[in-house]
Amino acid sequence: MPEPPAIAERLVRWLVGGRDADAVAGDLRETYHARGGSALWYWGQALSCAAVRFSGHRRVLPGLGQDFTHALRSIRRNPGYALTAMLCLALALGVNTTLFALLDSLYFRRLPVHDAGRLLLIQRTTTPFCSWREYLEFRDRLRTLRAASTVMFSGEAHVGPRTYGVVAECVSGNFGAVLQPGISAGRWFASDTEDAVVLSYGFWKSKLNGDPGVLGREILLERARLRVIGVGSSTFRGAFPPFASDLWVPTGALPSHGPSGPPVGVIARLAPGSTRQSADAEIRLLDAGLRADPGSARANDPAILQPIRGLLWRRGRRVLQPVVSLMSLLCAAVLLIACVNVANLLLSRAAVRERELAIRTALGASRWRLFRARLAESLVIAAGAAVLGVVAGEAAGRALQAAVPSIPEEGFRGLAFGIDARTALFLFAASPLSAFFFTAASGGRGHARRRRVYSVVQVTLSLTLLVGTGLLLRAMQHVERADPGFAQERRLAIHLYGPPAALRMALDRARSLPGVQDATLASSLLGPDSGGCAALSAAAPVRRTERNTVEPNYFAMMRVPILRGAGFTGAPGVLVNETMARASWPGDDPLGKPLWIGCDAAQRTVAPVVGVVRDTTWALDPVTEPAYYLPLDEGGGDRPVSLIVRTAGEPYEWSRPLIEALAMVSPDLRVYDAESIADAMRLAFWETRWRAALLGSLGALAILLAAIGLYGVVSCSVAQRTREIGVRMAIGAQPVDVQWMFLAEALRLTAIGVAAGLVLSAATVRLLRGFLYGLSPFAPAAFVGASLAWVLIAMLASWWPARRATRVDPLTALKYD
């Protein structure tokens, strides 16, 4: 009897699948013979079996449900290893999810408003802000865009008897119409001059307990009486995410804002029908007209449109970027360690299941089928880990949130971490991927050796993290102890903003207070700050330098010695620091030499150098930058200024009386909070402290995971060698010898891991160079300390299972299979 075509038959079996494949193939064979063996007919029938494959009642992947039931059953029988795996993975996933949330909010997230794609920020290359006059021009003359203004500030809001420190935005009246952020109660502003306030949803819920009668209540903010006319939608937290505002006030309601106020951020929405290109063109044209004005300082600084994604605050981005890059690397390492852990756990299960797998293979299971079975189990673990990971991620987010107040940058106070839809999506995508990875990593032969290799890899990675943490801690200590070059004790600083006349009045007022021994003004509190430019001659290249604008008695009061020449005497002059004197006039006396000051070639001033002062270190830089000092009247401008007082006693005793006195000085003067210089210095190190804390906690997590891994390896080793232990003990080995057997194995693995880790550390610590403030990354203390720490951890991790080995009863062990 002729055989039906073999390939067609294979096709039939593949399409139909399962047990029916046999039946269908058999039917076809019968009919084939009855019909006299036409191959063409057979092929036609074979192809029609595709209908079976895709019929609604047949599962596309036969046996998938079976895989999952089997996986669940197997996990239920041995919950211990599954829970450990889920926990390890959940920790790593939680940490990574928080990182993703951070990255997302830094770079990608759009504003949670209607049609956010059409919102743009109008900014310049040197600053994200525009002056109020410029904003008015944009608002009135742009056709393709509708512009609104906003500027963040902090203050105290009095609601009834209680006072809250709030972060608020002072916005133009059309803010609601332009951004379209939605509202959950009431309405947005109708005009610039309403004495009204819109509360944020978060503020309303947490501080006012979701009071349903909040509309119409009165709030006192910066001496303005405002009525609550609306509550924002639950997702909108302000125009500059991830900063969160507590409330919004129109510019007309606060006299210190608007035309006489600080520069504003301008957000514009594309008018219906306008395109980005037409808006770009219009802005360029309009802005060119504005900049052509003789009074404009923006000749070389065109306005550009930027879509609103992630963090717009450039300085914030710059500050966070290196930390975030470092964190990303670490979180990836932690995830790797966790996956390796889970792979190890799976491997140890696989050793136990070898027999089951052998039977399945003998019965005809393909490699793919076996892989799928293991994948099903991993996916169940990954799903459990994802759920736990949400909890872990929330916890990590909360912990970060709680640490945020230690950051002095005001805007960060509103930072909100947490799991939202996108991060949850990331979490639920990451877990099956990692499931796939560790399933692949745990398949195949050679279980015992693979487990050991994985354990060594874990030790290597976590040792590297530990070394990094040690280095950062060392740098932190070094920086905090360094002498900044100016006096810190009994100095209190109050941040002010206002015109020079008001500042002068404030200075006089401060000096007249009892308890204040002396007072001075400086634009930059902790030494010269960036933003200055200087050139040695009219034609010489303009170089960016640091600068500080100060009152003449600054140097005396802050104990910054004037090494040569004299201070400011009222005649035009500029003081330079040692570094600048050395760099610009090497070998020569800088006194009397002219200096061209200013970044804008058209608007420079010339002044003779009248003195050289001692360097101060902006303690975060190991290298001192060249800097110059100008007297306050000339350098002024629109930056906040610090009033520094030397107090008779504890600086903070005088903060309240000082602030109250200064608030009375002038309506043009805005008084912010007060802090002692010592505290300001300490806060300035928040970057180092944060870095050390982040790296430290991730490192600790990595070590925890690796220690769990080592524990697992030794446990498994004990379980596998039970018979051998029985034999040894029967022959006469002491418990101590058995214990030592396993400890030695653990120490051997650790030693290899530590050696590899030291090599890896040596290769990668140079990445930390930017964070170490001039210290060498190759500090032996860190390397040696980390290695010793790991040896100790390894002994601890393997002590318990090793001890269990001694409990083995020789008799049962010998019978063990």
Binding site: A51, H57, R58
Partner: protein
Amino acid sequence: MERLGEFEQLVLLAVMRLTDGAYGVPIQQEIEERAGRRVTVGALYATLDRLEGKRLLESWFADPTPQRGGRSKRYFRLTAAGESALAESKAAYDRMWRGVRLKGGSRA
């Protein structure tokens, strides 16, 4: 009550007619001979699967035979639900046909 499609009714009727010996090959032959419809094995089994999914049929596997090269057979049988579904379909058609006279003479 499930609505049965035309082909589904043919398949159910064929299974019913074959009583004990209803597996793939005779079902196919029955439909081809009596109803004059060409049936591919794929369409047949897709329908059989669907009917089984709707619980109008039940199936079981029987011994292999040498003609089938050692492959087993899958037998089908109507369930009670299947019988009532068929009866309902027939009743519906009967009601529609009552009193209809076709040109050319045949009468319900």
